[in-house]
Symmetry: C2
Subunit: 339 residues, 2 copies
DNA sequence: TATATTTGCTTAATCGATTAAGCAAATATA
DNA sequence: TATATTTGCTTAATCGATTAAGCAAATATA
């Protein structure tokens, strides 16, 4: 059973004493094949448990109908929700997706791109690893002549389509919210400036402080990888400052959670002593105590829009990509940590 | 730039006035090709930015060096950690993985299997969707003659390799722990019995109650899909019982979290009024208030072992699969919710 | 020096599915 | 009835990489 050879078009053709070409056409419902033959082909195909060989047809047609997806990690609600939507949209158009994760590693990301190109995907939708600065591996995708769409963590320099939220505005909204609650010393535990979205969040934060006539204190602006551990460490450092902040805006929910753990451990009341805001609206933000105010990133829209951009691009005969940004407004979800 | 054709072996061959066969051999470091030719091939390949066409070589060799992975969801720490380990092991052996998610849907799972078979993967490593009862789509994998390895949510009837933890014993350990803490009415919010692992957890729970001379009360045994929402709903029902439980063992951390939310909302003290135990050791169990006692599932070992089983199976000339279980001991991580 | 072996390639077939071109029979049209 | 068109296929080439078989030149061995 397990050892028998795969059924090919030729096997069906031999069974029916017709040519493989006729079988292929029958399967694709060609108008020049008789209904009788089509029915017989269908019957024998089922009988022999025929499974088309994707490698062969993809090779011949020059299209694999596979889309590669690269994400930093799959175990965040944001990315898995984005992927779910992409899958839904692409599935309808006859595309399947291959998900790879970079684990935030530059090296892994390069390897993933090689794998995807090697697998002959028809396009790549990616969100960059934290470590990524050099973009030559992404250029490789472009020079392969297949569409590249970036989401969330993108780069203008690549001159490709991008779907994401307005990070700059999000920071402005967060600071405005905290100021409204009476906060005067707002710290920011952010990502690294080299990553565009985190740079934008920092800029938004700084500009918002100025707008509200609050002084900018470099000791309150921290760059990190935004892991839970980073959140703990950086929060501890902030607490050791002579002049403690009365609010902390953290650019990731995971790091915000780390910060909250420290605050709870040190018996600092949130929100009364220090207000806390995260970013990403991960499900756990509403589950922890106190629940964490955060920014919803419209993951479903991002997934859908990125997939639609891909479909739009593959339908073009002559692929010409350029910087084409779709920026969605983010939404502040206010919870107990800043009330 | 984007529109130029891919470089093929033939292009390199033409450039050097040798045959494509020689180029292919040079690339594979064949001993019958001169060092001079090898170097020239390497140079021209780089010059023309040659990328081998995986479809062609896979078609010719009959091996795609791709492994399909099917998980219910990727956004749980358990599954993404399992996948990370698989990737690490398979990568070393020259295999790449394609991750698909069933979203706990039977229909989606069938579709995923079709996609993977169609993509000519060399094997499939899967964990079943909650909905799955009919196994014919999995039989299709077997009849394709490629290895199938199940992990976590498996089925004996398929007679293939399985890697998972000892669910029965885990339940026993949990009940013993709760009994030791003085609990007398232990409820169980479990999964559906049709899923083997959940059935084992229920059996382990029932047998453990008997062992400790506690009565078995059907109103305290609940089957559900174990989502967070299910946890909330079932917990509410348990609280409405005349004779409330003094402990709840939930077969998933997500549902346990839902249960905890209700308990917190109803101002029921955990662990003093009701003790709570989850399953899976998801990171948030240590983050919520109170932290949730849970069972660590050794995701890394499971991922590694499943990948190793695959490698072992593909290396066999004559694939013969049989029920071959690797059962790991789980570990109870005691936290505040049951202290 | 004559034969055997090794080296370094080429030739041609192959993996399956697809498709342009073409052909004979059946049918439609003038 | 003669020609045109349609129907229902077949033939042969193709997508790129790989490999068995083979051949001529170079080198080794007797």
């Amino acid at each position: 059973m397990a050892n028998k050879k795969r059924t090919t078009l030729k096997d069906i053709a031999n069974e029916l004493n017709i040519s493989p070409a006729a079988v292929s056409k029958a399967m694709h419902d060609d108008s020049r094949i008789s209904d009788k033959t089509k029915k017989e082909v269908e019957r024998v195909a089922k009988e022999l448990n025929y499974q088309p060989n994707h490698l062969a047809s993809a090779l011949r047609k020059g299209k694999s109908h596979l889309v590669g997806v690269i994400v930093p990690r799959t175990n965040s609600n944001f990315f898995s929700s984005v992927i779910e939507q992409m899958e839904a949209v692409l599935d309808k158009a006859g595309y399947n997706i291959i998900i790879t994760q970079s684990n935030e590693s530059f090296k892994k990301e390069c390897k993933n791109i090689d794998t995807l190109l090697y697998t002959q995907v028809d396009g790549i939708i990616a969100s960059m690893a934290n470590e990524t600065v050099d973009l030559s591996h992404y250029e490789k995708i472009k020079s392969n002549g297949i569409p590249l769409i970036l989401f969330d963590r993108g780069e203008n320099d690549l001159n490709v389509d991008y779907v994401g939220i307005n990070d700059y505005d999000s920071s402005q909204i967060i600071v405005a919210h905290l100021v409204e609650k009476g906060c005067k010393r707002i710290a920011h535990i952010g990502g690294y400036r080299r990553t565009r979205i985190f740079n934008n969040r920092i800029k938004g934060y700084v500009d918002a402080l100025e707008k509200h006539n609050l002084p900018i204190d470099d000791s309150l602006i921290i760059e990190s990888s935004l892991t839970l551990e980073d959140g703990r460490n950086e929060m501890l450092k902030l607490l050791k400052l002579k002049d403690r902040p009365d609010a902390v805006y953290v650019a990731s929910d995971y790091a915000a959670l780390g910060a909250l753990q420290i605050l709870n451990e040190e018996n600092i009341n949130v929100p009364n002593d220090i207000r806390l805001v995260g970013f990403g609206n991960e499900p756990f933000t509403s589950l922890v105590n106190p629940s964490i105010t955060s920014v919803a990133q419209h993951s479903k829209d991002i997934g859908r829009l990125a997939a639609e951009r891909f479909l739009n691009l593959v339908s073009q005969d002559d692929l010409k990509q350029s910087l084409n940004k779709i920026i969605l407004d983010a939404e502040l979800i206010i919870r107990d940590s800043s009330k």
